[in-house]
C-alpha cells in the first residue's frame, strides 16, 4: 500500500486508471438501467414496484461499503499519518452520504406501496439513518477547524468509532424484529432471488461501485491539486511581501 501512497505516483496511477473506471461505470449503469427498467420481469407479488429494488439495494450496499472505505482510510491516517489516506477519507464522505440518501429515499418510496408506510423506526431503517448522520457529522467535523490536520484527526476518530454501526446495519434484520426483510442476496445458502432479477441487480451494483471509485479518484486528485495551489500561493505571497512579516513582528513585539 505504501508504494501507492506517494502523491506523485498516485497522480500518475489515477490518471491511467480513471478513463477505464469512468467508461466501465457508464457502460454498466447503462446496461443495468435497460435491464432494470425494460428486461427484468415484474414481481408476482409486488408488480412493477419491484423495479425500485435496482436503485435501492445497490445504493444501500454502497452506503455501507463507502463507510468501510472511509473508516479504513481514517484508521490508516491515524496510524501512519499519511496525507493521502486522509484525503481518501475526506473525498469518500460526500459520496457515501449521497448513496445513503438515495437508499433512504428510494426505500421510502418502496415502503409506501408495499408496507403501507413511508417510514418506520425499525432497527434497519434507523441504523441506516444513523449512518447518514455519521456521514454528515464527519463532513461537518473535518471542516470545522481552521487547521485542516486537526479537522482530519477529529473526523478520523469519528469515522473509526462509527464503524460499530456497520454490523448493526447488516445484522439488524436478524437481531431484531424488523419490518424490513432479511438479506436475500448475501446470505448463507445462496440468494433467494430469481436470476432474471439478480443479474440486473448485480450489474447495477458493480456499476455503482465503479462510479464510486471513479468519483473517489477525481475528488482525491482535486484535493491534491488544491494542496499544490495553496503551497504555490503561499510561496507567491512570500516573494512579493518579503519585508512585511518582519515589520509585523516589530510592531507586535516592541522589545525586540
Amino acid at each position: 500500500m505504501h508504494r501507492f501512497a506517494n502523491p506523485a505516483r498516485f497522480m500518475r496511477l489515477s490518471a491511467a486508471l480513471l478513463p477505464w473506471c469512468a467508461w466501465s461505470a457508464a457502460l454498466l449503469i447503462a446496461v443495468g438501467l435497460v435491464l432494470a427498467l425494460f428486461i427484468a420481469p415484474a414481481d408476482y407479488q409486488q408488480g412493477e414496484a419491484v423495479r425500485i429494488m435496482y436503485v435501492h439495494v445497490p445504493a444501500a450496499w454502497m452506503a455501507s461499503f463507502v463507510y468501510a472505505v472511509m473508516a479504513a482510510a481514517s484508521g490508516a491516517s491515524l496510524v501512519w499519518r499519511h496525507p493521502l489516506a486522509d484525503i481518501a477519507a475526506r473525498s469518500a464522505a460526500p459520496l457515501g452520504a449521497g448513496f445513503t440518501l438515495v437508499c433512504l429515499v428510494a426505500g421510502s418510496l418502496w415502503g409506501e406501496p408495499m408496507w403501507g408506510t413511508w417510514w418506520v423506526w425499525d432497527a434497519r431503517l434507523t441504523s441506516v439513518l444513523v449512518l447518514f448522520f455519521l456521514y454528515l457529522g464527519y463532513i461537518a467535523l473535518v471542516n470545522a477547524f481552521d487547521e485542516p490536520t486537526r479537522g482530519s484527526r477529529a473526523g478520523a476518530v469519528l469515522a473509526v468509532v462509527g464503524v460499530v454501526n456497520l454490523p448493526i446495519i447488516k445484522f439488524s434484520v436478524d437481531w431484531w424484529n424488523t419490518l424490513h426483510q432479511p438479506a436475500s442476496v448475501f446470505r448463507l445458502g445462496g440468494p433467494t432471488i430469481a436470476p432474471s432479477m439478480l443479474w440486473p441487480l448485480l450489474i447495477m451494483a458493480v456499476g455503482f461501485m465503479l462510479l464510486f471509485f471513479t468519483l473517489l479518484l477525481v475528488r482525491m486528485r482535486t484535493a491534491l491539486i488544491a494542496a499544490k495551489v495553496r503551497a504555490l500561493q503561499l510561496l507567491a505571497s512570500d516573494d512579493t511581501a518579503r519585508p512585511t512579516p518582519r515589520a509585523r513582528h516589530a510592531t507586535l513585539d516592541p522589545a525586540r
Partner: protein, 57 residues
C-alpha cells in the same frame, strides 16, 4: 404505440413510486458527478494559472 408507452410509463399503477426513486438517484448521483468534475476543472485551471506565473483574481 403511444398507448404502449403510456402503459409502460404507468408502471402498473406504481409510476408515482418507481419514477421518483430513479429520479432521486439521477439527481443525487448526477449531482455528485457534476460537482466532482467542476471542482476538478476549477482547481486544475487555478494551478495552470499559477504555474504560468500570473497572479490569481
Amino acid at each position: 404505440m403511444t398507448a404502449a408507452i403510456a402503459k409502460y410509463l404507468a408502471m402498473g399503477g406504481y409510476a408515482r413510486y418507481v419514477w421518483p426513486a430513479y429520479g432521486v438517484a439521477v439527481v443525487v448521483l448526477g449531482g455528485l458527478v457534476l460537482e466532482s468534475i467542476i471542482a476538478y476543472r476549477r482547481r486544475r485551471a487555478e494551478l495552470a494559472r499559477l504555474e504560468r506565473g500570473r497572479p490569481l483574481r
